[in-house]
């Protein structure tokens, strides 16, 4: 029995950063908004306060803030020849399932992706020729420009309390910032976090090698801050529990302490938690979304929520899944290279070294999510010539820490036994002496890396799981080799007592160990409906009152973390809806 509810102006599926931003902006514009969130309502005062939040077992091992794979998961394979199997336990990535979404448990790294990404195919063709892009590499321009997005990056950075040092204000290079960033209108709202020993040592070594280190921009408030909406942040206390935890000091830019409470105070807004959307419903002619169907996961009750505008704001993977389950747009076929839904799934790659310095005390338990220094010389630096190295894209390198858990983080030199008294002696000896240097690298789209519906496995609602087909290709392997070499050269220049060197990964990708929650693509944005699912306003080419907001819209993945453009695009879409769509509902870009 399905209960049909009264129509509202807007229904939002998923209440994290993008859902929260849209909920705030559209309720303030006078629209009646209902948000449906799978997870529970949790608040800083009740759930993320001391001492309970510092619980590695609950939050790291048991994934308390994350998606429950017993209800829904994905199946995974490396290539179309393999049989895909369900991911029965979260590993490689950790989608949030709570009011605030992954914005509660992220580290806060906030980057501005630039025209280097948005015009990727044009840029590489212009510089290296058409033949520089392999046939299977399905990279394409995004249909948006950095100049269009700049004010929205600014808005997101000031909302989320990003601490950092500008590298380029209005074309003027700023000492100490990232000289390769695109011009910004003004500096970050807050100065950089206090550097830690590991980031200072990395900074010195990187400068010595002729690179351009800078403090990583992150939404960890370096001092108390009130954002333009009046949300108050405490200063970061460097407690070390950032990634995978809610912030105990209200210092991490998170939707549940910024945009969501503002929406919740607005009488136009209603939040329904434990609400699992199973389908986007369509009008009889299929040209408009008429609402969504959802199930209350606490009691199994089923509802239909009609709405004038439907916004998919779930985690990137789940947005794509909903599009496939709802039969909106043509599913992508990697053999014929036809269709768009599921196309250009991308991930990230990386390499890392651990350096041990006898006599040093790094105090790895004291840091913030963004406690590291970074170099961008091999990524946003367009002067870096890729031709001799035969790869496209790039990687950033960072020295420092990001939530090295007091129990979980146990650095020991290679060759140490993995258990027993020798291991215990080694972990006691080396714990304080270790720091890491890590690279995070882009992944270029490939025709065979994609999503579709799994033919075998179903979720708790009887629907097909989504199937992910992914592996690193030659481009990523070559870039990984280059990154490992850069890391090892830097590491050796620092003269560590012992070094676990970085090595390029060449084995197939696996979903088991944690890597990064930076999944992109599947319903990508672009300039025309033949090769993209969404236009530049993240509006569906097929149903004009359906917007799909998140990293699912990225046509490929960068070396940078995705939340900066995710937040900026949410504000950009909100403005497009408020200022243009409401006045004249229909396609915002003519196909």
């Amino acid at each position: 029995m399905t209960t049909k509810l009264k129509e509202v102006d807007v229904v939002i599926v998923g209440l994290g950063w993008t859902g929260g931003i849209l909920a705030k902006e559209l309720t303030q514009a006078g629209l009646k908004v209902v948000a449906l969130e799978r997870g529970a309502l949790r608040t800083s005062e009740n759930d993320y306060s001391l001492p309970n939040i510092r619980d590695e077992l609950r939050y790291v091992v048991r994934h308390d803030l994350m998606q429950n794979t017993a209800r829904d998961t994905i199946t995974v394979r490396n290539n179309p020849q393999q049989e895909s199997l369900p991911m029965r336990r979260l590993g490689s990535f950790l989608p949030g399932e709570v009011v605030g979404g992954s914005g509660v448990h992220w580290s806060g790294h906030t980057w501005r992706w630039t025209d280097m990404e948005f015009k990727i195919r044009s840029n590489y063709e212009e510089r290296y020729g058409k033949k520089s892009i392999p046939n299977d590499m399905t990279i394409q321009d995004w249909g948006i420009s950095y100049a269009e997005l700049e004010p929205y990056y600014d808005k997101f950075e000031y909302t989320a309390a990003v601490s950092g040092k500008a590298g380029n204000i209005g074309g003027q290079i700023q000492a100490g910032g990232n000289p390769f960033e695109a011009p910004r209108a003004r500096d970050y709202p807050l100065p950089p976090l206090t550097p830690i020993l590991a980031s200072e040592m990395f900074t010195a070594a990187a400068r010595g090698a002729g690179y351009h280190p800078f403090p990583r921009p992150s939404a960890n408030a370096s001092q108390p801050y009130t954002n333009p909406d009046g949300a108050k942040f405490g200063g970061c206390q460097y407690c070390g529990y950032c990634q995978r935890f809610g912030c105990e000091a209200n210092a991490k830019g998170s939707p549940h302490i910024t945009v969501i409470p503002i929406a919740m105070r607005n009488p136009n807004f209603e939040l329904r938690t434990h609400s699992w959307v199973t389908k986007v419903l369509k009008d009889s002619d299929g040209k408009r979304a008429s609402g969504v169907a959802y199930t209350n996961v606490l009691n199994g009750e089923e509802f239909e929520q009609p709405a004038t505008i439907v916004l998919l704001c779930a985690y990137a993977i789940n947005n794509v899944h909903l599009m496939l389950l709802s039969c909106i747009g043509t599913p992508y076929d990697p053999v014929a290279q036809k269709g768009v839904i599921g196309k250009n799934y991308c991930y990230q790659t990386g390499a890392g070294a651990t350096l041990f310095f006898e006599g040093k005390h790094f105090n790895p338990f004291m840091n913030a999510g963004g406690s590291n220094a970074t170099i961008d010389d091999f990524h946003a630096n367009w002067a870096f010539d890729r031709a001799p190295h035969d790869f496209l894209g790039g990687y950033i390198v960072a020295g420092g820490f990001n939530t090295p858990l007091p129990i979980g983080y146990r650095p020991v030199p290679s060759g140490t036994p993995q258990w027993g008294s020798d291991w215990k002696r080694a972990t006691a000896k080396w714990y304080q002496t270790a720091m890491t240097i890590n690279a995070s690298g882009s992944v270029m789209a490939n025709r065979y890396n994609c999503y579709d519906l799994d033919p075998t496995y179903r979720n708790a609602f009887g629907q097909p799981l989504m199937r992910m087909t992914f592996d690193y290709k030659d481009n990523e392997h070559k870039m990984g080799g280059h990154a490992a070499q850069t890391i090892n050269n830097l590491a050796k220049s620092m003269n560590p007592t012992r070094l676990n060197p970085a090595s390029a990964r060449t084995d197939p990708w696996t979903v088991v160990p944690y890597q990064s929650t930076h999944n992109t693509g599947g319903t990508i944005m672009g300039t025309n409906p033949r090769d993209s699912a969404l236009n530049k306003y993240l509006q569906s080419w097929d149903c004009h009152n359906l917007f799909v907001i998140g990293a699912n819209a990225f046509p490929h993945n960068s070396a940078y973390n995705p939340t900066g453009p995710v937040g900026a695009l949410a504000y950009w879409t909100a403005d497009a809806i408020k200022n243009r769509y409401l006045k004249n509902p229909g396609p915002l870009v003519q196909a």
Binding site: L50, P51, T226, Q237, A249
Partner: protein
């Protein structure tokens, strides 16, 4: 010789001001210092958030508010909040009440603390 004596006196006076409440804090500057507290503590009555409301704090014993979940350490502390005890607590929260739940490392400057307390004396009434 006189110069040395004067220097010594200045040094002693400086040392004396560290760790003790200064009576002459500036409440206007203190309001700015309160930004470090404001993300968690409200000044209105019954406005408990991530931290307890500070309304009427100088009339209370530590851990006394019925509708805030204090740590056992804070409840057991036996502290009566006065400008002096609160100043000492803000200087080093874990030092004064080990295992309390306030995630704040401490306000190191005695002048800042004096300004903050001067503000709180007015603002929590």
């Amino acid at each position: 010789m006189i110069e040395t004596k004067r220097a010594t006196m200045v040094l002693i006076m400086t040392l004396l001001t560290v760790g003790t409440a200064r009576a002459d804090g500036d409440p206007v500057r203190g309001e700015t210092r309160f930004q470090e507290c404001a993300a968690c503590h409200k000044l209105a009555a019954d406005a408990n958030e991530i931290g307890p409301s500070l309304h009427g704090v100088f009339t209370r014993k530590a851990g006394e508010l019925a509708d805030f979940r204090f740590s056992p350490a804070m409840k057991r502390s036996g502290i009566v909040w006065t400008p002096e005890t609160l100043e000492k607590y803000i200087a080093d929260p874990q030092g004064m009440v080990p295992a309390n739940r306030m995630p704040y490392a401490g306000m190191t400057s005695a002048n800042d603390r004096a300004d903050l307390i001067a503000y709180l004396v007015q603002a929590t009434k």
